[in-house]
Amino acid sequence: MAKYKSILAVDDNKAILTALQFCLEGTFEKIITLEQPDNILTLLAQEEVEAILLDMNFSLGLNTGQDGIFWLQVLKRKHPNIPIILLTAYADVQLAVRGLKNGAADFVVKPWDNDELLRKIKDAIDKSNEVAPLEEVEANHLQKAVDKTHGNLSQAAEMLGISRQTLYNKLKK
């Protein structure tokens, strides 16, 4: 089974980085680790990674997950196509929701089950690599517009910026 290429793990706990290396070495060819998030962007400018594992808390005593969300937002802005999986020691639903709303692909609570972690990472990478065919995307979008106007094709066509006739033809297909 071909291995995935590379992954970046960011956590201020060295032992956790070691644990991740043990866990991921069978699945990834290259595992890059960082203890501090400060140089993430510089590193990503030089290395290509398929996914990022990001710890939510970086300073001892600052147990709110704020640091993690900040870096999540930065990464999503600069590298929107790399899936990010958050790691945290809090089983906090609100924190999880915030993470997902800010664009995280998934959320893992410490301590984790190795197999489950691998599964989540692979799913996140596979999903982000999926490119849906244009026809499919267009058909879904058209349907959405028609649903919104409760079947009023003229209105839907106007919202979509095409003529009613064009819309009709596309739907007929």
Binding site: N13, A15, I16, T18, A19, L20, F22, C23, N57, G61, N63, A89, Y90, A91, D92, V93, K110, P111, W112, D113, N114
Partner: protein, 287 residues
């Protein structure tokens, strides 16, 4: 005639002065009693207001309310301190157990370690860390109590549902028909279940429940005839991690107290149990 008038006035004034002195002494006695309560760190004055003049009655009511508010604040501070400590502790522990658990899992998979003493050693480490994880996991709940959604509901129904689970315990319920409380239904169910479960584990065969409404508060007295709680343990039972059971996590009563405090109430162990019972817990909630 004049002397009679003078004597009458003297008597009336003396009577008035005497009454005033006597009344002031009563007030001093009240103050003394409240001070004694304070010395025992008991802020819940419930002094009666009979025999007082109007202004004094209002002052006494204020003192009663003040005492109650202080007690509530003290309870809340204690709960918050435990919450903060628990949050930091669980975070640190879970962070440190993670590599232990994960590296063990990774190593145990290696084919060359199967059926070796190293493999057995790793299994033992993994099992111990799993146990630690589930222990600490129950404490994560303590740190994340959701905001209570209060409704006014029929408490007797909740109690009947819980009672039906414990068929080997007789429930003696002393409450008026349609007794309501203002609280979060699920959280209250959790608290009462916890108290009943503890009673069951202490060998109780009878549980008594008394419902009272007094001074804008609803009180539930839950008693059981199981093993009484020693005075040594009584001071500890609401402390997180404290347990007398070999398989206990020590979270039940501390979580229950936290739930009640978060709804503006109190959960205490009565110093003296209700008659014919060994243990009585008191839940006080605002109406």
């Amino acid at each position: 005639m004049e002397t009679a008038l003078v004597i009458a006035i003297v008597v009336i004034v003396a009577g008035f002065v005497g009454w005033t002195v006597f009344h002031q002494q009563l007030l001093s006695t009240r103050a003394y009693l409240m001070r004694e309560a304070l010395r025992n760190k008991d802020f819940s004055f419930h002094m009666p207001t009979n025999g007082l003049l109007q202004g004094e009655r209002d002052m006494q009511k204020l003192l009663n309310d003040l005492g109650h508010e202080i007690q509530k604040q003290v309870d809340q501070n204690e709960v918050e301190s435990w919450q903060k400590l628990t949050r930091v502790l669980t975070h640190e522990i879970m962070n440190d157990v993670t590599p232990i658990s994960s590296i063990c899992q990774s190593l145990m998979k290696r084919p060359e370690l199967q059926n070796t003493s190293t493999g057995e050693g790793l299994k033992a480490i993994a099992a111990t860390s799993d146990h630690l994880i589930s222990f600490v996991d129950s404490y994560r709940k303590l740190a994340q109590l959701q905001k209570p959604q209060k409704t006014i509901f029929d408490i007797l129904k909740t109690i009947e549902e819980i009672a039906s689970v414990y068929s080997d315990i007789t429930f003696d319920i002393d409450a008026p028909q349609g007794a309501m409380i203002n609280a979060d239904t699920n959280l209250m169910r959790h608290v009462i279940t916890n108290i009943v479960k503890n009673a069951h584990e202490a060998g109780a065969t009878k549980i008594g429940l008394r419902y009272q409404e007094k001074d804008n508060h609803t009180t539930l007295l839950i008693s059981n005839n199981g093993q009484p709680i020693s005075s040594v343990n009584a001071g500890e039972i609401f402390t997180p991690f404290f347990t007398t059971k070999s398989t206990g996590s020590g979270i039940g009563l501390s979580l229950s107290r936290q739930i009640i405090v978060s709804q503006g109430g109190r959960l205490v162990l009565r110093k003296k149990a209700e008659p014919n019972y060994g243990v009585t817990f008191e839940i006080i909630l605002p109406q």
